[in-house]
């Protein structure tokens, strides 16, 4: 299982701040995003290729090709705006 966390505008759009999901067959960030998009609806909309979002695995920002393992904490959030 993966522990997904959502933040800021993505958390609000999805109406939840976390959920547990199965490790996708393609065990990469890209594979996870595809699996979430396949749900359709708001997930497909929020995670569309032309929308801007970032992914962190175990609290480290990574790219789409990053591998995933059971037990990983995967956060999906919009580009950061601190400071």
């Amino acid at each position: 299982m993966l522990n997904l966390l959502y933040f800021a505008s993505i958390r609000e759009a999805l109406g939840r701040d976390n959920e547990a999901v199965e490790l996708p067959a393609d065990a990469t960030v890209a594979g996870l995003i595809d699996a979430l998009r396949a749900r359709g609806g708001i997930y497909a909309e929020v995670l569309a290729a032309n929308r801007r979002w970032r992914v962190a695995v175990n609290q480290d920002m990574v790219g789409l090709d990053a591998p995933l393992q059971d037990g990983n904490e995967v956060a999906i959030f919009p580009p950061v705006t601190g400071g």
């Binding site: 800021a8 920002m61 580009p79 950061v80 601190g82 400071g83």
Partner: protein, 152 residues
């Protein structure tokens, strides 16, 4: 070694620089940056701002940024404080203090830390305007400011 804090409470620049001076006898320069909440953004009035962050990752990301600065410049000590929660115009939002032997290193490391904080630390601002509340969009200028450190 470096002092990194994410907190709701306000901070005081003089207190933080005094703390750094009390810890080191070889510091010759302290550079600092204070970010403040403006009452306008993107042409609209802002009456309130709320800051969300990713507990755990935020502290790790800030530590990584300060460590990168310390690998590049002489950084004897550094303090980064970022506030979260609800803030009002004129409130302080972020503090970066860098202590070095000489000013050049302190100035550059301080600016580097702020530029990377803007693009790599997981904070998100939501502002309240007369038309309602809205999430602040990431700015291309912030990305460009961070990128220039990679060319020099």
């Amino acid at each position: 070694m470096f002092d990194i804090r994410v907190q709701v409470a306000d901070f005081d620049l003089s207190t933080e620089t005094a703390l750094i001076r009390s810890r080191h006898r070889d510091v010759g320069a302290i550079a600092s940056f204070v970010g403040v909440v403006r009452d306008t953004n993107a042409g609209t009035g802002v009456s309130e701002m709320s800051l969300e962050h990713y507990p755990g990752m935020t502290e790790a990301a800030l530590k990584k940024i300060v460590d990168q600065a310390a690998a590049r410049w002489n950084v004897i000590d550094a303090t980064v404080i970022h506030r979260v929660g609800t803030l009002m115009p004129t409130d302080q939002i972020v503090l970066v203090v860098v202590a070095s032997r000489h000013r050049g290193h302190a100035f550059e490391a301080c600016e580097f830390i702020m530029d990377y904080l803007k693009t790599d630390a997981p904070f998100w601002k939501k502002e309240t305007t007369p038309e309602g509340s809205r999430w602040v969009d990431a700015r291309t200028a912030d990305h460009d400011a961070q990128q220039r450190w990679k060319q020099t």
